[in-house]
């Protein structure tokens, strides 16, 4: 129910986070939907700034619009937690939280949460003995197509499944920003990234969930 409905005293209390009844999602929807209400919100902020001697640029000077424009640019979005959770629920599974099967968004480079994990996927020969595989990776890593994916780590203790990787992928190199150790691991049909529960902002660990698929000796 739209409790705002012209009652701007409620808006004033919400602005101060002092309403006896907190703003619900519908209430915020009403605020966001009505340009007059948004304008009033901005005026309340301006009044407070004027009283406190803060910078008095007006609501119409484009600052907010400029910020919203920049965050709307491709590559600057933060993957929303709820959307990820929704996708995870929709995918179901065995207690892991697969994000998506073949979502192009995951393969776009996008700005993410404070702890960033960059995954560089390298394709290697389909069939190698473990020893040969290691050598082949070393030989071919630079020559093969690499794709970079950046995504937010899962919530503490949670897990994130990468999309299905191209045929023949045998290794994934995980690099990270400060606080996260790079991890190299051997082949698996898909890969997991999980937070180390002892390190909520880092400590990404990787483990395979299943044995590698059997590959023909003639396959590439």
């Amino acid at each position: 129910m739209d409790r705002l409905n012209g009652n701007e005293e409620v808006l004033s209390a919400w602005f101060d986070d002092e309403s006896a009844e907190p703003a619900t999602d519908l209430d915020l929807e009403a605020i966001l939907r009505d340009p007059n209400t948004r304008s009033t919100w901005g005026t309340y902020a301006l009044i407070g700034a004027a009283l406190r001697g803060e910078p008095l640029a007006t609501p119409s000077d484009g600052f907010v619009a400029a910020v919203l424009q920049r965050i709307a640019e491709p590559g600057s979005e933060a993957p929303p937690q709820r959307e990820l959770a929704r996708l995870a629920d929709a995918a179901g599974g065995d207690g892991t939280t697969p994000v998506t099967a073949a979502n192009d968004a995951w393969w776009r480079w996008s700005a993410v949460a404070a702890t960033l994990v960059a995954v560089v996927v390298t394709g290697v020969l389909a069939l190698q003995s473990p020893r040969e595989a290691g050598v082949r990776v070393a030989e071919r890593e630079m020559a093969l197509r690499a794709e970079s994916v950046a995504f937010a780590p899962a919530a503490m203790g949670g897990q994130r499944r990468l999309p299905t990787l191209p045929m023949g992928v045998r290794s994934v190199v995980v690099a990270a920003d400060a606080g996260v150790q790079p991890v190299r691991f051997t082949s698996a049909p898909f890969y997991m990234l999980a937070h180390n529960p002892a390190q909520p902002m880092g400590g990404v660990t990787v483990r395979a969930l299943a044995t590698p698929p059997r590959v023909s000796t003639n396959a590439r």
Binding site: E9, Y44, A50, P59, S60, V64, A65
Partner: protein
């Protein structure tokens, strides 16, 4: 309910006593529910909700940054950068502190990193500085951050209008909004200070804002291309 109120009053009293003068108007209340609800919407992908948070806190962020960076154009750019960083890191915000407390740290680090990258010495700005003609001005004055004469004139007009509107307010309305905006007191603390119910405080603050807003609206006409 009584026990929650008592805890809140005690908490607000402690916060009121500890509120830094450099951070007036910011109440790190344990129940910043509107901000929390807005953050939740942002985390769900609602960028417009982030716009409300930007609108609410951009001036405080600019004021904070202006203590370290003196170029008005850089202040605005860094303020935008701080909000962009906050948006990108929004999923890392867990609500353990108030949103503005978290934003404050991001803004402060943004300003400091800028100074480090520009190989400038980080110093605390003095509150006054003399220009070439020997006139002094207050760096903390919001008007000092305007970059164009038109914006400076408009800012001055806004400040004068607010001051005039405040002078015309009945004393109880003026006191209520001052306690809220200048002292950062909660409604409950204001109610205790003024000896009236919380609902009366809410009404007085709203009426004060509306009276000031009526005077400001002619100055704040929003062009269609500037709306968000």
């Amino acid at each position: 309910m009584v026990s929650i109120r008592a805890r809140r009053a005690a908490y607000n009293a402690r916060m009121a006593a500890n509120t830094s003068k450099t951070d007036r108007g910011v109440q790190d209340t344990p129940r910043a529910l509107t901000d929390a609800a807005l953050v939740a919407r942002v985390q769900a992908g609602d960028q417009a909700a982030f716009g409300l948070l930007v609108e609410k806190y951009r001036r405080r962020v600019e004021r904070l940054i202006s203590r370290l960076v003196h170029d008005p154009a850089e202040v605005e750019d860094l303020a935008q950068e701080a909000f962009i960083k906050a948006y990108r890191a929004i999923n890392a915000f867990r609500g353990e502190s108030a949103f503005y407390t978290w934003l404050y740290r991001i803004a402060l680090n943004t300003a400091k990193n800028h100074l480090v990258s520009a190989k400038r010495e980080v110093t605390t700005a003095s509150t006054t500085q003399a220009n070439d003609e020997g006139e002094s001005f207050d760096l903390l004055d919001g008007q000092g951050t305007d970059e164009t004469p038109e914006r400076l004139l408009l800012s001055q007009e806004i400040a004068r209008t607010v001051e005039a509107a405040m002078a015309e307010l009945p004393e109880e309305l003026r006191t209520a909004i001052q306690l809220r905006e200048l002292e950062g007191l909660s409604y409950e603390a204001i109610a205790e200070a003024m000896g009236c119910p919380i609902g009366t405080v809410r009404s007085r603050i709203f009426r004060a804002r509306e009276a000031i807003a009526r005077r400001l609206r002619p100055l704040l006409e929003t062009p269609p291309d500037r709306r968000w």
